[in-house]
Amino acid sequence: MKKGLLVLMILALVMPVFANGVQEEGAYPERDVTVIIPWSVGGMTDVLTRPIASWLEKDLGVNFIVENKTGGSGVVGSMLVENSVNDGYTIGTTSMSTVSAKYVSPVYPDIHNVELISQVITIPAAVTVNADSPWQTLEELIAFAKANPGSLKNANSGIGASAFIYAASFGAITGIEMNHIPYAGYAEGVTALLGGHVDLTNIPLPDVAQHVQSGTLRMLAVASAERHPDFPDVPTLKEKGYDIVLGNYSGFVAPKGTDAEKIKILDDAIGRCLQDPAIRSFLLKAGYQPLYSNRVEFAAVVADAEAQLEYLVNELGIEFVDD
């Protein structure tokens, strides 16, 4: 009895070795595609990627297995995507922090080491204050900041992280000096603003939207190209004379050298997905602005982000790493 069990167990352990033995080339995709998310379950990228992945499953007829490989603010997972086999069966997600990582981390992914597939959303940064604060308009806030340089406390999501980049850019273009207070993430930064511990934040719209709607926070401006459909009364920074668009994006990438045909198949499918009204309304409800750009247009968006960071670091001398 015992010997029989032992033999069975050894067999069970050995079987998987043969499992992936034979592979034939057919029409792509013919087997499961792994989607690596370098950020955690329930995070911004996770929330928007999963519904898109399950839409792709139905469209392309294979499983899209979502794996969260967290660590190093996305560095670990992004580098994992870079180093994956470029057979089209492993893809990943990217955001602006993949680009900004090189200013912060000693080991970092390079967006030029991957093939862009498509962009799916954009998240505009905003200028938000507490509803109890005296500032009713952007002009009043900026006038106060100019009269009292360095006194306004701006909650960001960590030095070098996205909200810090928005705050630094906002300060640079409006010519105001602020006291940048780093928090662990968007939620913590917004909490500090709700509690009145800081004066303003440039944390993007999805995280402040419901507090603005419920009347506890006041959004003075949004840093997108056009006004947001949910907040038609909030002006853009552009309208106020500051020619700047700030915000994050999220999209799909594949390891360098992935067959262009396969990339096109994925890109087209994602494009169809973003046409689906159900997906669009889901993304809008969750606070994102659906924005599909194909692999070529996405390259321009990434290049813009790179230029913006270069400008901040080289022209304005903003240091992401303080030693």
């Binding site: 329930g42 670990v76 000693p106 207070i181 419920s214 992401f320």
Partner: protein, 506 residues
């Protein structure tokens, strides 16, 4: 908040699937929570993708069951094999494991179940009645107050170190040092990462915890080379007697209040709550001198607190859309994926759904009580399995669990190193709890200390001019020098009494 809307939430429960979902959630949660290395956060993260296709109300009945079950389940392995299944069960192992070694594992699990259920029940009540109120108080907590809370947590290291306080402090400092690895939380400067991307976020405390508790325990069992003897377990007294419960009621109540409040403060969570509850028991409990030797008071306090923190953590999540701990952060992601963003808007506009969440949580507390008491006998029988079967099985769970946290082999390396170090420390009678506490609390303390000083413009007086912060600092001082003062007072008192006696004698 009108009562009618609460009742509307009740109507969801006409569907029997709600009960099945909640029951399954609790059951799976207990099993996962009890397995070393599978933390409550991970359990929820693993199962959230399965709930996407379900109705949000049903999926939340299941997820809240998981949440409650996993936080409770962590205590089972802490009691049976001295491996906290989740960080919030660290304090439970301090008295739970000694109880098990005395053959009273069933009783310890019984007490843990009843205390957890009371803590959970209490926090749901608070959540229903006073959620918006408490959330607004919690908002007033800025970096200064977090400094106070983490200091209370750290000061408890001195209290819970069995035997030598010096060894406890050495362990605590070792933990603090380990906690500094990774990107500097304020400036982003990489510290002690040796060029490894895996270290950017610091050393994950979970594999270290599984290593110094689980692996080290298994190593020392193996080195004893005694696989045949098992501690026989008394299984008669599983359901705690009314007398015990009555005696422990003040402890359980105090701990439930502590757990709910600390749970409601964003970023604090169950591990600090259970620790503070254990610490106050050690300071003010009736049987404090016996704490650590294996008494049920030491199980009741942390268990009531960590389950009370579950309802507490839902307070800021439901009312403000701010997760109270890592677990609720994952839960919140689950809600957002369902198209429901928790926060003031959801709270105002979707009251029936919100109340269904409260009722689900209550239901899961009931199921936890039932499954826990019914299963206590079976759980404690597990420990009577012969060790040459038990040890390899636990080792496998430790390895799998630490890999699964970030799907990273690096963490397995951390686990093995921590296991070897933990084993060596055990040989010199070192308590490992302070190391883990230092690792968890150190980064919180450092970040908030520096953030407070940035907010105040470098002015240290900010810590004493803010009332809450001052109150917390006073508590820290009391925890540290309280016993000395008490001794001093007692000495003088007895001295006076002696004098009086002498005078009386004359």
């Amino acid at each position: 908040m009108s009562f009618d809307l609460y009742l509307e939430g009740l109507s969801y429960f006409a569907n029997p699937i709600m009960f099945i979902a909640s029951f399954l959630g609790v059951l799976v949660g207990i099993v996962f929570g009890a397995l070393p290395g599978l933390t409550a956060t991970m359990t929820i993260a693993v199962f959230i993708p399965f709930t996407f296709g379900l109705d949000p109300v049903i999926s939340f009945a299941f997820l809240l069951g998981l949440y409650t079950g996993a936080v409770y389940g962590g205590s089972i392995s802490a009691i049976l094999i001295n491996i906290p299944g989740t960080p919030s069960a660290i304090a439970t192992s301090l008295d739970g494991y000694p109880l098990c070694q005395k053959g009273r594992a069933g009783e310890a699990i019984g007490i843990s179940t009843v205390s957890s259920a009371f803590g959970g029940f209490f926090s749901v009540l608070v959540l229903c009645v006073a959620a918006p109120l408490i959330a607004n108080v919690a908002l007033k907590f800025s970096a200064e107050e977090y400094v106070g809370i983490t200091l209370i947590g750290l000061s408890i290291i001195a209290v819970i170190s069995p035997g030598s306080i010096v060894k406890g402090l050495i362990g605590g400092i070792l933990g603090l040092v380990l906690g500094t690895v990774g990107l500097d939380p304020i400036t982003g400067f990489p510290r002690m990462i040796f060029g490894r991307a895996e270290l950017l976020d610091g050393i994950d405390s979970i594999p270290v915890m599984i290593g110094v508790y689980g692996l080290a325990e298994m190593f020392s069992q193996i080195s004893k080379n005694d696989f045949k003897t098992v501690v026989s377990q008394k299984l008669s007294k599983v359901i705690p007697s009314g007398k015990d419960i009555k005696r422990l009621m003040p402890t359980i109540f105090r701990s439930s209040v502590i757990g709910t409040l600390i749970g409601a403060i964003p970023a604090a969570g169950g591990s600090i709550a259970s620790l503070v509850a254990y610490g106050q028991e050690k300071r003010f409990g009736k049987r404090r001198h016996l704490l650590g030797t294996g008494i049920i008071d030491g199980v009741a306090a942390p268990e009531a607190a960590n389950n009370a923190s579950t309802g507490g953590a839902l307070i800021p999540m439901m009312t403000l859309g701010i997760p109270g701990d890592p677990m609720t952060a994952v839960l919140m992601g689950g809600l957002i994926i369902q198209g429901l963003r928790p926060g003031p808007i959801l709270f105002q506009q979707q009251m029936p759904f919100v109340s269904s969440i409260f009722i689900s949580l209550l239901l899961s507390v009931v199921f936890m009580l039932v499954i826990g008491l019914a299963g206590a006998r079976i759980f404690s029988r597990l420990i009577t399995i012969r060790k040459n079967y038990l040890i390899p099985a636990i080792l496998v769970f430790c390895l799998v669990g630490s890999y699964a946290i970030n799907n990273s082999l690096f963490d397995v390396g951390v686990l093995i190193i921590a296991g070897i170090v933990g084993f060596l420390l055990k040989q010199v009678n070192f308590s490992v709890a302070p190391i883990i506490l230092g690792m968890i609390l150190g980064p919180l303390f450092e970040t908030n200390l520096r953030r407070s000083l940035m907010l105040s413009g470098g002015d240290w007086s900010t810590f004493v001019t803010r009332p809450f912060s001052l109150a917390f600092l006073i508590i820290v001082v009391l925890v540290l020098v309280g016993p000395l003062l008490l001794q001093l007072v007692r000495k003088q008192k007895t001295a006076c009494e002696d004098e009086e006696d002498e005078n009386g004698g004359v």
